[in-house]
């Protein structure tokens, strides 16, 4: 089964990191990526620019509406994701717990629809 691991972290706290802290975090993410690839679990993943760069688009009555944001009131924002292929939820949870961001923020584990299964 494939799972999307969504990484939620506090963006403001992230911008206040020292260069050394940032470097250590990058190294930790690289190590996670390597471990996941070696185990044959990782199917992809990206880090996202902060929500200050985000745009929200919707269509109402055929008209495109574009706005700045999302203006999330929540403490944590979506900062990146991985796709993992695991046998079950327990395995996916284990991989989620290995993501460096799990120690500061939280990881949402979401199964991906598989339309090929009946």
């Amino acid at each position: 089964m494939r799972y999307l691991l969504l990484i939620y972290n506090n963006e403001t706290a992230n911008t206040q990191q020292t260069p050394a802290e940032m470097e250590a975090e990058m190294a930790a993410y690289n190590a996670f990526g390597e471990e996941g690839a070696k185990a044959g679990v990782l199917r992809g993943g990206e880090a996202l620019q902060p929500t200050t760069t985000a745009t929200t688009v919707s269509v109402r009555n055929g008209k495109i509406i574009t706005t700045d944001g999302p203006f999330a009131e929540t403490k944590e924002q979506l900062g990146g994701y991985y796709v993992v292929d695991c046998a079950n939820l327990d395995e996916a949870i284990q991989w989620g717990a290995k993501i460096p961001g799990a120690t500061k923020g939280s990881i949402e584990v979401r199964p991906i629809w598989d339309f090929s299964q009946g």
Binding site: N88, L89, D90, P111, S116, G118
Partner: protein, 425 residues
């Protein structure tokens, strides 16, 4: 109900966990397993009066239910995943021919079922409902009744839980050893809450709720037995402690309620009504748990309960020990209510002034200001210290916050006693 129908019903309830465990293990699908089992129940009601009761009812039920599942899969328009399952089932069916169902004991898959039902990815109330439904063999109506929620709400809760198990890929397995402690904690918590729901209730239909206590005890016994037999696992001190705690509380069941169904407080219970065999078993289990030298909150609570159970009358209670145990409990799981209990025990052990000193920490008063037992405990300490006017104020405060009728009666009596004594002073 006829004799045979009663036997059928009892068999299905008692064997539900074992049969569903085996079925879900091969079918990988809760709904299919449950539907097949339901259909088998009807067949049993038809066949057993004619054919007699099978020698091994559980094996009979499992075999017939598996066939029912195959029929269902054949009838339904099914996708690739279930096609593969059907082929697999047909293959085992050929190697596992009737009529000799009694010769093959069905494998016990209940431990997997327990861990799946109590998976922390499920909401706690869903864990509890699912555990009672699949392992306890209770009907949706019975569970709804026991938790005082409408039947459709409970049915929806169960459906959602089963959907999540399927869609999110919650595995049907005994978890890997490294995560066992965390997962076992979740299982014990669900069982503890099932017991509590049955025990703490002072209203609602007595019978079903009593059944919750019995069911929690039965399931905890099963869990302990299964853990002991699972390769790589061993006896768990907290599981033993939880069973001890349940038994020691359950021993007081008949003494807790008067003829009108009102709650009787511990101090005023007729201790000759406490069931000694349960107390003895609880104490023995606790001793076994303590030997494992892995203390935990359930063992400590069981130890407190055991000290109450072993006091022939209230005055013989070992309050020094109880106060020390509340101290240990507060260190493991800090909570203002535990601190309150510790203050009460200290007040009993070292005199009311000592208890008041602990109780009057500002933080405790802030956190428990709306809790009637905080004021009731304070009032009691003040009364015993001879400060009757202050005690009266606290009893009145407690009374204004109290919802339980038995406790209200008790508090009112104390308030009157204090008022009279103050007048005599």
């Amino acid at each position: 109900m006829s004799e045979i129908a009663k036997i059928v019903e009892r068999t299905f309830r008692e064997e539900s966990g074992r049969v569903l465990g085996a079925l879900i293990s091969t079918l990988g699908d809760f709904d299919l397993a449950e539907d097949a089992l339901q259909e088998t129940l009807i067949t049993a009601l038809e066949r057993w009066p004619l054919d007699g009761i099978p020698l091994n009812p559980a094996a009979w039920v499992t075999t017939v239910a598996r066939r029912k599942a195959i029929d269902r899969l054949r009838r339904a328009k099914i996708g690739a995943r279930k096609q593969a399952l059907l082929l697999e089932l047909l293959r085992t069916e050929q190697t596992d021919q009737e009529p000799d169902v009694d010769a093959h004991p069905i494998p016990d898959e209940r431990l997997k079922l327990i861990f799946t039902c109590c998976h922390p990815a499920l909401a706690l109330e869903a864990q509890i409902a699912l555990t009672l439904r699949t392992l306890g063999g209770l009907t949706t109506e019975e569970i709804a009744h026991a938790f005082l929620v409408p039947v459709p709400t409970m049915a929806q809760r169960l459906t959602r839980a089963k959907n999540k198990i399927r869609e999110a890929g919650i595995p049907y397995q005994v978890p890997p050893i490294p995560v066992i402690p965390e997962r076992l904690e979740a299982v014990l918590k669900a069982l503890y809450l099932i017991f509590n729901e049955g025990y703490a209730a002072t209203s609602g239909e007595g019978l079903i709720r009593q059944e919750l206590c019995a069911e929690a005890i039965r399931l905890t016994r099963v869990l302990i037995e299964l853990l002991a037999h699972e390769p790589g696992l061993c006896e768990d001190a907290e599981a033993l402690g939880l069973l001890a705690l349940m038994l020691l509380h359950d021993a007081r069941r008949t003494a807790r309620v008067d003829a009108d169904g009102e709650l009787i407080l511990l101090d005023e219970q007729d201790r000759s009504l406490w069931t000694q065999p349960e107390i003895e078993e609880g104490v023995a289990l606790l001793d076994r748990a303590l030997l494992l030298r892995r203390p935990g909150p359930y063992q400590i609570q069981a130890a407190i309960s055991a000290l109450h159970a072993q006091a022939a009358q209230p005055a013989a209670t070992d309050w020094h020990q109880i106060a020390a145990l509340y101290g240990s409990l507060a260190r493991l799981t800090p909570s203002p209510v535990i601190e309150l209990n510790r203050a009460v025990a200290l007040g009993m052990a070292h005199g009311p002034l000592y208890g008041l000193m602990v109780l009057d920490q500002r933080q405790l008063a802030d956190e428990l200001g709306d809790y009637h037992l905080f004021h009731a405990a304070r009032a009691d300490l003040l009364r015993r210290a001879g400060w009757l006017t202050e005690a009266k104020v606290s009893y009145a405060h407690a009374l204004s916050l109290c919802q339980n009728r038995a406790e209200q009666t008790f508090l009112r009596r104390r308030l009157i006693e204090c008022t009279q004594a103050a007048l005599l002073d």
